[in-house]
Amino acid sequence: MSALLKVEGLRVEIARRGRVMTAIDDVSFEIAAGEILGVVGESGAGKSVTGTAVLGLLERPAFQAAGRILFDGRRIDTLDEDAMRALRGREIAAVFQDPLTSLDPLMTIGDQLTETIRTHLDLTQAEAVERAARLLAEVGIPAPRERLASYPHEMSGGMRQRVVLALAFSCEPRLIIADEPTTALDVSIQAQILDLLRAMCRERGTAVMLVTHDMGVIAEVADRVAVMYAGRLVEVGPTQSLLAEAAHPYTRGLMGSIPDMHRRDVELAQIPGSMPRPDAPVPGCAFHPRCGQALPRCAVERPLTFTAGASEVACWLADPAARSAA
Amino acid sequence: MSLIALRHALGGFWESDLAYRFRRSPVAILAALVGLALLVAAMGAPVLAPYDAFDPAAANAADARLPPASEGMFGDYYTLGTDPQGRDMLSAMLYGLRTSLVVGLASVAAAALAGVLLGLMAGYFGGVLDAFIMRAADVQLSFPAILIALLIDGVARTAMPAALHAELAVPILIAAIAASFWVQYARTVRGLVLVERGRDYVLAAKVTGVSTPRILLSHILPNVLGPVLVIATINLALAILTESTLSFLGVGLPSTQPSLGSLVRIGNEFVFSGDWWISALPGLLLVLLSLSVNIFGDWLRDALNPKLAS
């Protein structure tokens, strides 16, 4: 199966006060059609920036410095703003973290839905309203037709995130960038929204890039996992095998931080130390100062990517040459 | 301005961030330099001024309303001309600048002091006192500052004999302006105190038996100084404008005590006869002063508000 989304050697830099910092460094991954890729890492690891870059929404002072982004075989990072805009919401949709602030407070949700639909699809207002009502019903909002006239503040956080999902699915996109879609919600509602997202994607064959800091969420819905650390990809592999047997020491540390699938509020505190900031980069492997198994070369040489079981891992410990030498 | 921004401001106030931004902003440097030069000129007025603007004997009625760069009847040279009483404009302006700055600075200081104290009390003690102070602030805030200053000055004028009022003109003016500006400090400080009050260090100080006024003074006060300084800078420009406006309207300082506003007022009558310099020159000086303080204050607020930075 050929990849729906292909990111190659992506590098995002932030220019501030004449200094250039690297937020994303040489990140490459693929998402197949209908596949759910979980992108996991601590906050500041560059997960959201990656998602933003795919959407073409990077804003000054951040910019794409290198790499290519291909959607359906077509290069999209070089598209002009108007062509990219036509793609956004139509082919690539987004769900953001906070449903309370994602919707325009002064506009009814019906208007926000029909506005999105009519921007991308050639429908009459009546047809768009019809479609909007159907979408609301589909995301599980009771009395959808009446709800079209509601303002966002009249709905709960969970309901609003359902509206956001309806907006994301409104033009049947092929890829959804979901940036921490459940983080801002009550724990009891998180699972519902996650189930809804998964069900709708499976039904339509929509691919998802699911950005989260929560390993529990990943374990529940992702087909494959990409682990990011300090702007780099450290490990990519199928969820099952990665959960069972992580190759990268950092991924193993992350595993330690999901003691219970039903308590997702646990942060990645199991690993001592903290991630280097973009303005203070670490030579060699960015993780070596926190790594219990660091080799001398880890502090000097940036690790190459090796195959370890079903995963790809950027770690010198996985170097076959080093293994055979030891 | 949001509370978070203000809190950020106080935290990062002395960090090199500010110094960096200052070095990178020619406009801010220029404004600061001009402001500083005006301050020096004002404070050095008795030394710098060629004539004593307060001494009626130094004015010569025969030299009235001479244009800039004129020579008087008795060989006096007037760089910037003379006013209707034959006073040297340059001297009058230097003294006027001094009065304007003194009144501005003093009223800002008084307003900040009163506002900070009331805000600290309201925020720390809460309850009825808080409700009373904040209600008063609400009511006052619905009136423009200039109107309040005008009315306070007007009432003082009505309540006092004319001679006494003339004698007390400066302190009354300072009080009137201060009374119209305290609200902003009180509100800001109260908000900050409410945030700081719940912090560990204040609780810790309480647990260890430190007395309430000491907590207020030694723990909370230093943390609220940053935002207060920003408000004070912006208010300084407003206070100077308020003083000159009141003096222009003839309800601020008497004409025997030249301020930039009262000098403009004196000259205003002669604008129609073409003697523009009498009001235009002190007016320009006032604009220069107001602009430099305003620009600096504007820069300071932006520099301390990370949300607006780009």
Partner: protein, 327 residues
């Protein structure tokens, strides 16, 4: 509607405070008897006057009487003009209101579009020039703007009149200068003078709010939905910007009344401002007291109008939330 009722309560409170200050002024600043009968009156005459005015009654009773009279528009006689205060104010009010309305119209009509434009074109040279100009506009004292305009347009160029209202037309007791050429010409300089500061302020606020809104999550989400830039800027960003801007413009209206005192002094505009400056200079206490109450009433009406505008614009307030702006 509880929101509006709460606002009404606060309005009444403000009015009562104003009435109280105004009454105290009237009753205790200077001696009302002295001012009415003159220094030469005998002791008996004074006593008779005191009793007639009810000055010996209990404080509460006097205050109640003051409020009662004020409600019927009776503020007594002006010391200086010897006419009923209400009449004087009624004569002068239209001039000030017209001046304030026109200048606010100029300030809003120019300030909001320019503010929005500068926010959307931050790096354009014109945008930076406008920001610099607006900073100067905020820093310039109103009276100097007036004098400078008179110097240029009246004294040197001779294009526009520098004082008075020109010819006015009486329509049902309202004297308007908007219907004659000379009235309109006379209005230009004062209205511009009064409007400059407001224009600069509105421009800066509209720009700041627009920038703030453009950073909001829902704008980012709107971009992610692929909406066209025009739709994002005008349908979403501008509407959200207008909520706080409308509030500020409404509240600034009070400031315009206060600053009209300055403009009326510079241009000898026969409005309330000129009247109140004279009242202050001549210790005309009844006039001052009435002005205070009137201005409080104006502010109350403005605040109420702003709140109602809010209810119309912002659905969050409509449902009783009482959210004020985004701040």
């Amino acid at each position: 509607m509880s929101f509006v009722l709460g606002r009404l309560g606060q309005t009444v409170l403000v009015l009562l405070v104003a009435a109280f200050v105004s009454f105290s002024l009237f009753r205790y600043v200077g001696d009302p008897v002295n001012n009415m009968v003159g220094q030469s009156a005998s002791l008996a005459e004074r006593e008779a006057m005191r009793t007639a005015l009810g000055l010996d009654d209990a404080f509460v009773l006097q205050f109640a009487r003051f409020v009662g009279n004020a409600l019927t528009g009776d503020f007594g006689m002006s010391y200086r003009f010897g006419q009923p205060v209400a009449t004087l104010i009624a004569e002068r009010f239209p001039a000030t209101l017209e001046l304030a309305l026109i200048s606010m119209l100029i300030a809003t009509g120019v300030g909001v579009p320019l503010g929005v434009w500068t926010a959307l074109h931050r790096d354009h040279w014109l945008s930076q020039a406008l920001m610099a100009a607006s900073l100067i506009g905020v820093a310039l004292p109103t009276f100097l703007i007036g004098i400078a305009l008179i110097l240029f347009f009246s004294v040197w160029l001779g294009w526009l009149p520098s004082f008075g209202r020109g010819q006015v037309v009486e329509i049902g007791g309202w004297s308007t200068g908007l219907l004659t050429t000379s009235g309109l010409r006379a209005l230009v300089l004062p209205a511009v003078t009064l409007g400059v500061f407001q224009l600069a302020l509105i421009l800066r606020l509209a720009r700041a709010e627009m920038l703030e809104v453009m950073r909001a999550d829902f704008i980012r989400f709107a971009r992610a939905r692929g909406l066209k830039p025009r739709a994002i800027q005008y349908r979403h960003a501008l509407r959200n910007t207008l909520v706080p801007v409308v509030t500020m413009i409404g509240l600034q209206f009070g400031n315009v009344f206060a600053f009209s005192i300055i403009v009326e002094t510079v241009f000898q505009w026969p409005g309330l401002g000129l009247l109140v400056i004279q009242a202050i200079q001549f210790a005309d206490v009844p006039l001052l007291a009435a002005y205070l109450v009137l201005i409080a009433l104006c502010f109350a009406v403005i605040n109420l109008a702003v709140d109602l505008a809010y209810v119309a614009i912002d659905p969050r307030v409509r449902s009783g939330g009482g959210v004020r702006g985004t701040v």
